[in-house]
């Protein structure tokens, strides 16, 4: 039997992800010499390549970033187990951004200048990304950024593995408007750039395309815990849909108080773009049951890639762990980088950048994804309805959506 290629592929498949454009050469025994694959003085030896991981392990954002840290580590372990990148094992230097933006900038600079890492997986909030972006552009580093975010950005030095705003918003609103015959919307968010930009796009889409009405739009400071007045305003306006982008600790108070005020999934349609399985853990499934989330990934997705991914994740981090959208996007980072390096046949940043457009991953947990020349991923949007057990039932899946970080007519 001709077993060589299929068996190698299935081994990779076992490691949850096979890279479609895997160069055949990378499976051969002798790795290419370092002088060939590393011409810019990165931390690459004959047997290892060093990468950086920059997230908040402490501070307010540690809650959210833990999942990404774990997923990136899992992907790196799997890549190493399958032979590494260009025959080199990946070594990770972990830095703690401590939820503090100047610290992020400081550590990014350290990783690029002192440690000369091949790439960095990291950041979560927009603010931390904005703080490190000039550093990456100036030192010509590479950043794989996992969070869904507001768009309006495109950098040679960043690969965005989460969705930009239009990918997450438009199809979701279209679905809810059609499904629920919704005409009036109440927009609620935390007060920073991602919710504000998202709501701006949502409002334009609702008003100009769907010819609906926005009956209220409000932003609350991060960490605020009293939503009584807001809930009363919502009750007064009786919107068809509450469209929410509340994040962090506020999330829990918001949904608990909604539930206490008698606004629940059976009486009111609520669509959120900020609740993943991670948040549900804190909010409690019973407070969310019946509400909808628009995400590109849910842990309950029914496909073989995802089943392997979830099993591997739980085997490593415990059966009680949950996987949200950003965690999955974090998992894609190392695989995309590996694919780019192997396509380029080099660790040089410029060559990786050149190799990145139209890179495909056929076996991502979320399904097929493809890297657009604008450094964002083509991806699907899914609508999940939360169940009492904290998992989502996927009700809708869009076609692949083209990333469009600078949407015309929505700015």
């Amino acid at each position: 039997m001709i077993r060589t290629t299929p068996s190698s592929l299935s081994r990779l498949g076992h490691a949850a992800l096979a890279v479609a454009l895997l160069a055949a050469g990378s499976l051969q025994a002798a790795p290419p010499p370092t002088s060939e694959v590393n011409t810019t003085g990165l931390a690459v030896t004959d047997t290892t390549v060093t990468v950086g991981q920059l997230h908040s392990a402490t501070g307010t954002m540690a809650i959210s970033e833990t999942g990404s840290i774990q997923a990136e580590q899992l992907a790196i372990d799997q890549i190493n187990a399958a032979g590494g990148v260009l025959g080199r094992q990946i070594k990770v230097i972990k830095e703690d951004g401590a939820s503090d933006w100047p610290t992020f900038a400081e550590k990014a600079k350290k990783l690029l200048v002192s440690d000369k890492v091949g790439t960095v997986f990291g950041c979560w909030t927009s603010a931390s990304r904005k703080a490190v972006l000039p550093v990456f552009e100036k030192e010509n580093g590479m950043l794989y950024y996992p969070t869904f975010y507001e768009g309006l950005e495109q950098s040679k030095n960043v690969i965005y593995t989460g969705q930009e705003a239009t990918q997450q918003i438009l199809a979701g609103i279209d679905w809810i408007a059609k499904e629920k015959k919704a005409k009036t919307f109440y927009l609620v968010g935390s007060d920073y750039i991602w919710p504000r930009t998202s709501m701006k796009i949502a409002r334009k889409h609702i008003e100009n395309v769907l010819k609906g009405t926005v009956v209220g739009e409000e932003f609350y400071a991060l960490g605020s815990t009293s939503f009584g007045s807001l809930i009363n305003k919502i009750k007064l306006k009786k919107p068809d849909v509450i469209y929410a982008a509340v994040v962090g600790g506020s999330n829990v108070s918001f949904y608990k108080q909604l539930a206490a005020a008698g606004i629940n999934g059976t009486k009111q349609t609520l669509l959120t773009i900020s609740v993943t399985e991670d948040e549900v853990l804190g909010i409690g499934g019973e407070n969310l049951a019946g509400f909808y989330s628009a995400m590109k990934y849910f842990q309950s997705l029914d496909n073989p890639n995802n089943k392997e991914f979830v099993a591997a994740f739980k085997a490593k981090y415990g059966a009680a762990s949950v996987i949200g959208d950003v965690t999955q996007a974090g998992y894609l980072g190392p695989w995309l980088w590996k694919a780019a390096v192997e396509k380029a046949g080099s660790f040089d940043i410029d060559k990786i950048v050149a190799a990145s457009p139209d890179l495909e991953l056929k076996t991502a947990p979320e399904g097929y994804v493809k890297l657009h020349p604008n450094h964002h991923l083509w991806s699907k949007l899914r609508i999940g309805q939360w169940q009492k057990n904290g998992q989502a039932k996927v009700l809708y899946e869009s076609e692949l959506i083209e990333p469009n970080p600078f949407p015309k007519g929505y700015q």
Partner: protein
């Protein structure tokens, strides 16, 4: 010589100042790569605030938990100037309104807000870096000290002001950049501040200004005015009865401290390349007080050393043991407050030698040890 005497009362003071100057001017620049030197420059920009705190807290007995406000105001003035320079119509051609800062465009602003206009001018910006924090401090100080608010109440109100300003900046994203702050600053009047050479130059500018400010503070402390300050701290009523305007003295000190903080903020922005409300709120404001407390709230040099030391160890420890770091920081802080109220600098003065400290410990820390500055400060 007389002037020299005013600056340094004892030989010890002169020597410690010289050692510090040698360290930051010669040893560190020679020993560290530019990237690390830039970090030191960042820490030293906090040094300006800390010098202000020595005057305000150590010498005048007023604890402000809102120094981040003034650091932030100075920083924002600088950042606004740099941002306007970075947003020329050519580089921002992709925006719907070219020529305004990117975050304004994202927030659908179509023209530059009026209060941004003057920041096109560099002289105005330099002036604003001092005047804006100074004016705000003067107004707050004047309103409060005239009504004899002090001590704990002042601390809490300044803390609330820090919260208000950071929330206010968060909430007015189109005008301030919101939570992300003002980022991606590139050039100062055509000079690329991100290059290695520029960072070296900026480091030395920062150090020289810091040493200058330190001398200025020492001058204030060692003149007659400095002694009145201490008298205000220790025996407010008596000073008032002697005919001094206590409110004015405090307001003046608060204003000076605020201006120093503003200068620090501006230098921070130049060296780090962005400004955000996370540098203004409650936690950073308290951290600034910690730097002063660890180094020694009474000593200008001590406080600057404390600033460097705490930041260095934060950087080093948080790389190796992020968990341990907070325990260590909290523990150090409690220990310093309880056993070494004069901080590191206190270890080198007579009343603070290890032996006297040990005696004090053994006697179960009798209330109000003689070297405690705030001993007789009533709640109001």
């Amino acid at each position: 010589m007389a002037f020299f005497r005013t600056l340094f009362k004892t030989r010890g003071e002169a020597v410690s100042f010289a050692c510090f100057a040698l360290l930051v001017l010669v040893i560190l620049p020679l020993a560290l790569p530019v990237f690390r030197l830039n970090l030191v420059g960042k820490y030293l920009s906090y040094g300006f605030v800390v010098i202000g705190l020595v005057l305000l807290w150590g010498r005048c007995g007023i604890l402000s938990l809102g120094q981040g406000v003034f650091f932030g105001l100075g920083g924002y003035c600088m950042a606004m100037f740099l941002k306007l320079e970075a947003s020329d119509p050519v580089t921002t051609a992709i925006q719907s309104t070219p020529g305004i800062p990117d975050f304004m465009d994202w927030n659908q602003l179509t023209a530059l807000p009026k209060f941004w206009e003057p920041f096109h001018s560099f002289p105005f910006t330099v002036l604003a870096i001092f005047v804006v924090p100074g004016l705000v401090a003067f107004l707050i100080g004047w309103a409060m000290f005239r009504r004899r608010v002090g001590g704990v109440y002042f601390a809490i109100i300044t803390q609330a002001i820090a919260l208000i300003l950071s929330l206010g900046i968060d909430g007015n994203q189109g005008y301030t950049g919101g939570r992300n702050g003002i980022t991606d600053l590139r050039t100062l009047m055509g000079w690329d501040i991100r290059s290695e050479h520029a960072q070296q130059v900026l480091y030395f500018i920062c150090v020289l200004l810091l040493l200058g400010s330190a001398l200025f503070a020492k001058y204030i402390i060692n003149t007659r005015f400095g002694r009145v300050l201490m008298a205000v701290r220790d025996q407010e009523e008596r000073v008032r009865f002697s005919g001094y305007d206590v409110a004015m003295i405090r307001t003046f000190t608060f204003t000076v401290a605020a201006m120093l903080a503003g200068l620090g903020g501006a230098l921070f922005v130049l060296q780090v390349g962005f400004m955000s409300p996370s540098l203004i709120g409650i936690v950073p404001s308290i951290e600034l007080v910690i730097f002063a407390a660890v180094g020694g709230r009474l000593s200008v040099v001590g406080a600057m050393v404390g600033c460097l030391l705490v930041n260095f160890s934060k950087s080093a420890f948080s790389e190796a043991y992020p968990d341990l770091w907070l325990y260590l920081m909290g523990g150090t802080f409690i220990a310093v407050v309880m056993f070494f109220p004069d901080g590191l600098a206190g270890l080198f003065t007579k009343s603070g030698t290890i032996k006297t400290r040990a005696t004090a410990l053994l006697s179960r820390f009798r209330p109000a040890s003689p070297s405690t500055p705030n001993a007789s400060q009533p709640a109001k």
